[in-house]
Amino acid sequence: MIATLVLAAIFHVAAVAFLPDVIMAVVSKIALQSSKASVNTAIYRPRETHDQQTIVMPSPDLLYTLCVYDVSQKPLRIEAPVPKGTYFSVAMYAANTDNFFVINDRQLERDGREILLVHKGMSYHGSGNYRVVEAPTPQGIILCRTLITDENRIDEMIRIQHQVTITQVEQ
């Protein structure tokens, strides 16, 4: 009886602790498969509708650009636009769903448009005018949000969405 309860407690904790990692892994796989994209590339999602949704509780007022990253070998360079008259942000999530970094259009305008994502503890070479962000886990997701401020400006918003570039950096 005691052995069963102890083992049940271990399964309980393991299920709760690893559920976010499992969900992130499944969502990453679905996002890559549905867009036929590869890791470390930008996926420019169409506007979220009931027949175009991958992640729970999507906002139909935003255009999402998603990237499933793996910085275990090489850093990633993210170049973001600084659009006028709308909200834009770059958010980075660890494998356990933690939002370890976010920057919006106002901060990008002030601090620069380029970000270098490296794995924590990774040694990297290079010089440039970019902000270095350390990912706590080698795998995770980058999510950029572009706000659709006006239905009549949707083409302009899509152009802004496509100005996000994500590329691996050769060491």
């Binding site: 052995a3 049940a8 309980h12 299920a15 958010a91």
Partner: protein, 193 residues
């Protein structure tokens, strides 16, 4: 053989108990101090944060994956109306409010699985830019399966639970400091089928 069968039984019972209790606990309404409640709305102030505990992190992964930290966005979620009754697609609701001290806001309705509700109009939300206000300055967003004149979010013909999310992007420092200080809208049940 008997011993092996006994260990297998212990393993299986423990597995069902462990996973079952985890799912039950995650589905329960959270009561800990990381959640701020006001009327029908609740928000987890540590959503997306590295300081989040394992239960909150798991809950956010299920019902709000890829949430931003509260310094960037606050997510208020409602599963009930003002009277505490669960939101259901067979009922009609009016979401009534003034507006918020924030850069941008939106109100979005979701079905029981936390996905957008299918509808021909592809209308799922209203925000500070496209909501129509009445003469008294208030906005009134209608959740209903039948058409409404203004600010209508169709909830479909299928009977299911509804979830409503209010997003405040770049809220004021006062709201970040005290999320309950936001002037949150009322959710008023009007009629049920």
């Amino acid at each position: 053989m008997k011993t092996a069968l006994k260990y297998l039984c212990i393993f299986l019972v423990a597995l069902v108990l462990g996973i079952g209790s985890a799912l039950y606990w995650l589905a329960r309404s959270p009561l800990d101090s990381n959640w701020v409640r006001k009327g029908p709305w609740k928000t987890n102030v540590l959503a997306g944060s590295e300081q989040s505990g394992m239960y909150d992190r798991a809950r956010v992964a299920i019902a709000g994956l890829l949430a931003l930290k509260k310094s960037e966005t606050l997510y208020y979620v409602a599963d009930t109306d003002d009277s505490g009754e669960p939101l259901r697609a067979i009922c009609e609701y009016k979401i009534e409010g003034k507006g918020f001290d924030t850069r941008w806001w939106s109100v979005t309705a979701y079905g029981s699985t936390y996905f957008l509700i299918p509808n021909e109009q592809k209308r799922y939300s209203f925000n500070g830019n496209n909501v129509t206000r009445d003469r008294d300055g208030l906005f009134r967003i209608h959740l209903s399966s039948t058409p409404k004149e203004m600010n209508w979010i169709p909830t479909g013909q299928k009977d299911q639970k509804l979830h409503v999310t209010l997003r405040l992007y770049n809220p004021s420092p006062d709201i970040i400091g005290d999320p309950s200080s936001a002037d949150l809208p009322h959710i008023i049940r009007e009629v049920c089928r």
